[in-house]
């Protein structure tokens, strides 16, 4: 894992509290699972119909009938349950999932998320992302602060088609942590290496700085 990825994942796992039911998105969010403290009782939800995802199987345990939402073979923990897709999304839409941690392509200063489609490229589909951002009690997006081309992914307005409007509670990047409040986007944490002004220079969105700004 790269250093920035590692930093994002380590920061993201602090959002998970003992006893939570959590949905982790495909890609970087999936890595958060490995960092959950062993003594926590956390149930991970997979929207294809499993609450209580376990570790990857041994060769002997591999079962084609048991996969996660990324279509990878997994196991189920003790206390897990299986259910159909309507029940799975009733659980999500009905606000029974405490936390969703999802990847992002762009985030706006009003908490909009774009993470499913790039116009001009082949459309793959949104899967369960639009349901998750509307339904989970708390939505946290984790992503790199800047694109490969050096552009800020934290925008005034998203340029890509939205996954949800005003749905994000907190954004964690490799440089900073922002909260989305009725009075706008607030910088609540930053890395030690950069000043607030240096973060501002790398962020297209406008934001205020929390009085209790912390370093992570």
């Amino acid at each position: 894992m790269s250093e920035t990825r590692d930093r994002i994942v380590r920061r993201a796992v602090q959002e998970i509290e003992n006893g939570m039911n959590v949905n982790l998105g495909i890609g970087m969010p999936t890595l958060v699972a490995n960092e959950i403290p062993a003594d926590y009782q956390v149930l991970l939800q997979s929207e294809n119909g499993l609450l209580g995802i376990g570790p990857y199987p041994t060769e002997a345990e591999v079962d084609a009938d048991l996969i996660n939402a990324g279509k990878e073979t997994v196991t189920a923990v003790a206390g897990a349950s299986y259910f159909d897709s309507a029940e799975s999304f009733a659980m999500i839409r009905g606000g029974h999932i405490d936390l969703a941690i999802l990847g992002g392509m762009e985030v706006s200063e009003t908490g909009d998320l774009a993470n499913w489609m790039i116009p001009g490229k082949m459309i793959k589909g949104m899967g369960g992302a639009m349901d998750l951002v509307q339904g989970a009690k708390r939505v946290i997006v984790i992503m790199d602060h800047m694109s490969k081309h050096g552009e800020s992914k934290v925008k005034k307005e998203c340029t890509l088609p939205l996954t949800g409007q005003g749905v994000i509670h907190r954004l964690i990047t490799d440089l900073a942590v922002f909260d989305f409040t009725p009075s706008g986007m607030v910088l609540v944490e930053k890395i030690a290496d950069l000043s607030v002004e240096e973060i501002r220079a790398r962020t297209e969105a406008s934001f205020t700085v929390s009085d209790g700004l912390k370093v992570y």
């Binding site: 997979s46 294809n48 048991l66 990878e72 997994v74 259910f83 949104m126």
Partner: protein, 233 residues
């Protein structure tokens, strides 16, 4: 009259060009692989297929794409398929992308006699275009329409001869919903047991929804992404 059929030919006799079919499964997990092969052999064209995904190039619903039998696909995620991309870009294939939870609920509603419902999912996104909205308690919701299929194809683990079904692990996924929403529902299973052998408390799909039951042999159950503890480390 028994629901247990010996051949798909017999069960598919009313399947016609241009019809809508709902197909269970998530990725390649819990897909009715024998029914898909039988539809391919029958060659029915211009189908509207409602399923969370569209298989891969050489397995699952990808087989019907390759055989140019699908006119329109209603799905939430179609990213694993090159033939899909070719047919979509050339305009041969129409696609209606639907958020996964909305797709599940549209099928559930279809089976439950509910013509439409409201959901916050998709508000402010491209999928809201052209859909009526309504405000409840200060929040905006989209109206989404139910889906009913001329046929529904599901894969279960076990059935009894009355069509009561039991699924296994995450192979359940869209199958119980699909089973309720077909005018004709065909269930293919790994084992058929006698009436009374299934515990009524443990039946996932009551047989009332199922018209035909077939037992399939030598299920491939292809794994899309095989990951083991050893590889991951």
């Amino acid at each position: 009259m028994t629901k247990v059929k010996r051949s798909f030919e017999e069960a598919l006799v009313d399947l016609k060009d241009g019809q809508t079919v709902i197909v269970g499964g998530f990725g390649l997990c819990g897909i009715p692989e024998k029914a898909i092969e039988a539809i391919r052999q029958k060659g029915t064209k211009d189908l509207t297929v409602v399923s969370n995904n569209c298989g891969v190039d050489d397995f699952g619903l990808g087989l019907l794409l390759a055989n140019k039998q699908i006119k329109k696909m209603v799905a939430s995620y179609v990213g694993e398929n090159k033939i899909f991309e070719q047919q979509f870009l050339s305009g041969e294939l129409e696609v209606e992308l639907t958020p996964q939870g909305t797709l599940a609920e549209r099928i559930r509603a279809g089976g439950a006699g509910i013509p439409a419902f409201y959901t916050a999912t998709g508000v402010g996104t491209p999928i809201a275009e052209g859909k009526p909205t309504k405000e409840f308690d200060g929040k905006v919701y989209l109206e989404e329409r139910a889906i009913v299929g001329d046929y529904a194809f599901v894969k279960a683990w076990k059935a009894d001869t009355l069509g009561n079904l039991v699924y296994r692990k995450t192979a359940r996924n869209f199958n119980p919903l699909a089973a309720t929403a077909g005018k004709i529902t065909i269930a293919e299973v790994e084992e058929i047991v006698e009436v009374g052998a299934l515990n009524p408390d443990e039946i996932h799909t009551p047989g009332v929804y199922v018209q035909h039951v077939l037992v399939g042999e030598n299920y491939e159950k292809r794994i899309e992404r095989l990951l083991t503890a050893k590889e991951v480390g």
